[in-house]
Symmetry: C2
Subunit: 205 residues, 2 copies
């Protein structure tokens, strides 16, 4: 969490200053997994726990990005790539702003997750893989997308007609079909040691 | 600062929760004016004062947006419009995240500033007009752009070959050729009464 000169700007208030004011480091927790795997539910559960601990948080997901910043984009490969690029850029800005950002996007391709990791900085990027089996996700089908995909009415549905590339070295794995969101959130929180680091200690300008 | 259901999401932690945790409301301070008018300098001066008062802040400007989120955009009218749209969307997300966002972009056209105001919500949008005269801005020429424009090497330079539409009802006006940044920042801070409102009072879920 040391590099404040993310953009080479000359502004006086730095990320480290904001982290000190907040009393905790900032960073990005990147959730990835199939539609219906439980990303938004976990994002919400984790944010609630972090907020109760006095941490400054924000969740970026399809609801607040696709209807706003990315509303000009379609769901082709190019559109999805650009959406993930923008999410990574916004997460980076918010992290610079002192927030712990939780992103909840399928982000099925390794190369886009690696792009995000590189952009945000590996030391700030915590990859969480929701490994919930496809059969469970498809049964849940919270947005009705699997049904549409099976009926041939959606192109490039991840898990059905488009690949999901499993993370090779995620920092954390959870399967929402075999664990409650409360338990997963607790485990995840415990694994996020850097978040619980107090203000000041180890943070340099 | 009342409407938390900006996106109709089902997330538990709301903007009002974040404002309570921070002890101050969030919002957007939108600086507009010619290149060289003093926008970035004022953004920096104001952010320093806000930070010293314990407010959570962030500055969006060309340096951290044009090199990242908007690096795919050019400087045609369409590219500039889209840049301002993205800035407004990101400012809105950051405001939802509890931050006082200061934006420093020329944003020369009324319609783009009105787009931003509508998107962000008039009650959250504080328009600041840097009225520094063109002659002073051109003399300063901090990026060398006026010289290039006069030499015909830059198309559509605001103030030279492209219009700057003066805000009709800005919330605050300052001329950096006749006032120090410290004095302007103090005046601006004093005019931002809502920022100094304590936590809790008047904030509803």
């Amino acid at each position: 969490m040391a590099n404040d000169k993310i953009y080479g700007r000359s502004f006086s208030v730095t990320r480290a200053d904001r982290e000190r004011l907040n009393g905790h480091p900032s960073g990005v927790i990147w959730l990835t997994g199939l539609s219906g795997a439980g990303k938004s539910t976990l994002a919400d559960g984790l944010e609630r726990k972090l907020h109760r601990l006095g941490k400054r948080t924000y969740v970026l997901d399809g609801d607040n990005v696709r209807h706003g910043l990315s509303k000009d984009l379609d769901f082709t490969d190019a559109g999805r790539d650009e959406n993930i690029r923008r999410v990574a850029e916004v997460a980076k800005l918010m992290m610079d702003g002192g927030l712990i950002v939780i992103t909840a996007f399928i982000s099925p391709f390794r190369k886009e997750r690696e792009m995000a990791r590189t952009l945000i900085g590996p030391e700030n990027f915590f990859e969480v893989y929701l490994s919930t089996p496809l059969a469970v996700c498809e049964h849940r089908d919270p947005k009705g997308l699997y049904k549409l995909a099976r009926a041939g009415r959606i192109q490039r549905m991840t898990g059905i007609t488009s690949a999901y590339e499993i993370p090779e070295h995620p920092a954390f794995i959870a399967d929402s079909s075999s664990e409650t969101v409360d338990h997963t959130s607790e485990r995840l929180l415990a694994s996020l040691g850097w978040i619980c680091r107090g203000s000041g200690a180890g943070i340099d300008d």
